[in-house]
Symmetry: C2
Subunit: 401 residues, 2 copies
């Protein structure tokens, strides 16, 4: 039920298109919907009879025909109360959104269910992504199910188990001697020759719409109320952008009221462009000194950092970084509460502890943490044999042999 694209920065509108979602002003074009029309069928009551995947919000997703939907059972993940922690911290109410219970064991399933569905709707057969891990394996699974060819480019130090997972799903998988943007450069250099549809963060309109469903679900699962604070591990930022968009659309639809949540971005100390930008008041990429581990948070130059910063500011939120030691301790804390916490989810927990210490989160706040992936996916693994490339030319040469 999409009706076009609209720039999140300057408000300029254009007809829907699959590529070039960057506006002339530098802002990101997001999908617009006819909310008046959506409100006729999307109601609190009608939702009670719908499927329990993210596709229950079909009016707010960019697919025209249901037969194009590529669904592996993504979304509608549990929101679990941490009663023990509430008492110990203390905190009014604390939930963890268990995104690791998505099909590929991570929140990335949502974005790729939407992006691959859109790709199918537009007749695309070859898809490519640069990723620190979970986005790659999610694309691999959805492309596999849809019968598309997937080309994945991951920094060579990325979690080996996730690389193995990509191969399990039958994707063409390559390690890159560089960081995530170096991997992205390979796709940009090859997309024309190879006919790759680039589904990197904010490179096409689908993924951020899929991520939006985390916000839609949160509102519905909390009985159409929003929490006071959302603590979210941030890399490329499409989760923050998608959720904020969700809350705005729900407000416009009259489905939620009251205050918007304060949005918190957590990053690891060795790669914290969003944290530094918040201190400075405007976005600046991190161009050097990237020392953090290869997790979803290691994105020195997110595609639209300015939008992330403006959302955090508008929400009266904040950004903070945590150390590898804090992440490690937080994984143990969450494990002891029965939650399989990825480093990113653990970073959110560590961030929560800091913000309580700092008095920024109060004991009467209601807080939601996002656990984005299973702990196990990041455990060290050395047995993988996958070709390593540095440039698109390396990749071409590899195929000549």
């Amino acid at each position: 039920m999409k009706c076009g694209l609209c720039c999140s920065n300057c408000g300029k509108r254009r007809t829907f298109q699959m590529k070039d979602t960057r506006c002339g002003c530098g802002g990101t074009m997001l999908v617009e919907y006819d909310l008046e029309r959506a409100s006729r069928t999307l109601t609190k009551e009608s939702l009670k009879n719908r499927q329990t995947t993210m596709w229950r919000y079909e009016e707010l997703l960019p697919i025209e025909k249901n037969e194009h939907i590529v669904s592996l059972g993504e979304g509608w993940t549990p929101l679990v109360r941490l009663y023990g922690a509430e008492k110990a911290l203390p905190l009014q109410k604390l939930w963890v959104k268990r995104e690791e219970q998505n099909p590929t064991g991570s929140f990335k399933a949502r974005g790729f269910s939407a992006a691959v569905s859109l790709a199918r709707e537009y007749g695309i057969r070859k898809v490519a992504v640069n990723s620190n891990g979970n986005a790659a394996s999610a694309l691999a699974a959805y492309a596999g199910y849809a019968g598309m060819e997937a080309y994945l480019f991951l920094p060579r130090d990325c979690p080996g188990l996730i690389v193995e997972e990509c191969i399990h799903y039958g994707a063409r998988t390559f390690l890159v001697d560089g960081l995530i943007h170096d991997a992205g450069q390979i796709i940009r250099d090859g997309e024309r020759d190879q006919g790759w549809h680039h589904v990197g963060t904010l490179k096409e309109p689908g993924r951020v719409e899929g991520k939006k469903t985390m916000g839609l679900e949160l509102a519905e699962q909390l009985g159409w109320k929003l929490p006071d604070v959302i603590v979210y591990p941030t890399g490329g930022g499409s989760g923050i952008i998608g959720m904020w968009n969700a809350f705005r659309q729900l407000k416009q639809l009259g489905m939620v009221d009251g205050d918007m949540p304060r949005m918190v971005s957590v990053q690891e100390a060795g790669c914290q462009p969003v944290v530094r930008s918040m201190a400075k008041g405007e976005f600046v990429a991190q161009t050097e000194g990237v020392t953090s581990k290869p997790t979803g948070m290691r994105v020195p130059n997110p595609p639209d950092g300015g939008l992330i910063v403006s959302i955090l500011q508008e929400s009266n939120g904040t950004a903070l970084s945590v150390t590898p030691k804090e992440i490690c301790d937080a994984q143990a804390d969450m494990g002891n509460q029965g939650i399989s916490a990825s480093p990113e989810g653990a970073a959110a927990w560590a961030g929560l502890l800091r913000l309580i210490d700092r008095g920024w989160i109060h004991k009467n706040d209601e807080v939601v943490l996002f656990n984005t992936s299973h702990a196990m996916k990041y455990w060290p693994w050395h047995a993988v044999r996958v070709p390593v490339v540095r440039t698109y030319q390396d990749w071409v040469d590899l195929h000549k042999l």
Copy 2:
């Protein structure tokens, strides 16, 4: 809403108790419910407004007070249509029940949510289990969340990543120089001295009730119709027993009608007591020649093999074994369709292919496969340092050092 126990073999009734769920006749005592009373609140309509975990069926679960429920977001897992495979095989309708999307990445979460809730209701603080892997990590998570001490005993060749997962959840974890029944012997030898509540398969009444919810969900997700065939990887058999019980209770409640499904047990060639017993017409344990891999299917002497055989017979079902090579090929087949398939889930796929070849499954059958756990959990892993014991005395000695 439980009202007692009833022997699945001789029909003898007794009041509910937490231990000694074996009847004098050798049969298993299963929980009975007041179905007349349950039917007043458990209706197709009332379910539409309920939580999307397995606890939506609270009338058919053995907990009296909601505050005792230990829930991490288990159950209501997606049932995904495999359209591509339907066309290729061909088959009328084919679904996979994605049990790997449970909290601990496996179907075992259901049993332990029920068993640990029951344990909480009865004031139990120390729980122990013998397991080939996923049951152990599920107990670890639920015990962690409930603040109980968990003691886990796993055969030493069990998947290392799952052993690591147990430690992540903070459980006391031990490897055993033997098979799953040797691990069980250690618990039986120590339960009195150590005050362990034994939550091994069919050792207490909760786990099989939790497993029952797979059957309840299946019926509801298929619009209160049952499929023609269910293909299920079988080890201890509580899934088969639980689901069959679910279908019977739903029939008694008038919530489903028509034929019951034909139940299929799939085992690996190197450990196939159920397959051999079906050929023989009565249950006989496998006492030697166990050569199969350490998966959930490697249970040479299930606690109530007779009940499994009688259910398969009553359902006009069957049992068959598949080779490690077939399982390996099946994992690739499922991976290429975007499904993260455990060896057990892959065995179900391999079993399906054989039964189609054999003409036992017809092209107009509607079939459900169970994928019980994530593929990744079984990938080889050698880095774990966990104490190894052979007997309960070894375990006691270990703690003297």
